[in-house]
Assembly symmetry: C2
Homo-oligomer: 108 residues x 2
DNA sequence: GCTTCACTTTAGTCTCTACTAATATAATCG
DNA sequence: CGATTATATTAGTAGAGACTAAAGTGAAGC
């Protein structure tokens, strides 16, 4: 599944925002998301599965809990796709700045 | 419609890539896309409409032709959303470089 | 060892969307 | 004007996917 298809769903985007602030147990995510979007715990679990299956999140077992952490590699793909459009809104960067902005390391 | 919902479709992403290289008539887009994705002209026209309606493209009339140009403002929203995740893959930039990378103008 | 808690998986439904075929509109050309 | 070219719109359909309810799995507590 393509990164943009995963990110299409507002619930999944919100889950990633939560995880960006630090890892959380499935139940903790379900509690917040369930409240914000009025969906059930299984629904949240299904979204977590999509995120897992597509490399957006990883899990760690802690007793009966599953701790989720964000994995940003697919987001980098999105960032890379945007690359070709950035010149439309970052037109005036000089060469060095452009290099840096493009993520090309300037020193080790 | 949210930017990610628009970008979810690979056809629409490809159209934006084409338009990023320069404006094109609807028919020219339909010709390339129709060949690459094996879909009809009306299907491409419908995708162009979605892009128009959501601010990803603008049109100019040229006789019987409609010339499409990319409009990147919604892509900037995507870029902005990615912002909070960038620290995961751009951890070592010094302050100045980070400012530049973030698009905050350093002069003027 | 049974009950409870934390979470996932499955089955079924309903809505949404991308598509084709057909039709409409509107400019150009003979 | 009538035919053709360029493009958009409409109607209808099939498939995808997000949800709920219910059932399954497995660790923890008494």
């Amino acid at each position: 599944m393509h990164a943009f298809e995963v990110l299409r769903d507002p619930v999944r985007r919100r889950i990633l925002e939560l995880l960006a602030d630090g890892e959380r147990a499935s139940g903790a995510v379900a509690e917040v998301i369930g409240r914000e979007f009025a969906i059930t715990q299984p629904a949240v679990s299904q979204h977590l599965k999509v995120l897992r299956d597509n490399g957006f999140a990883s899990t760690r077992v802690d007793g009966a809990r599953r701790i989720y952490a964000v994995d940003t590699s697919p987001l980098r793909d999105v960032d890379a796709w945007l690359e070709r459009f950035r010149r439309f809104w970052e037109p005036k960067l000089d060469t060095l700045a452009a290099e840096v902005a493009r993520g090309k390391r300037t020193r080790t």
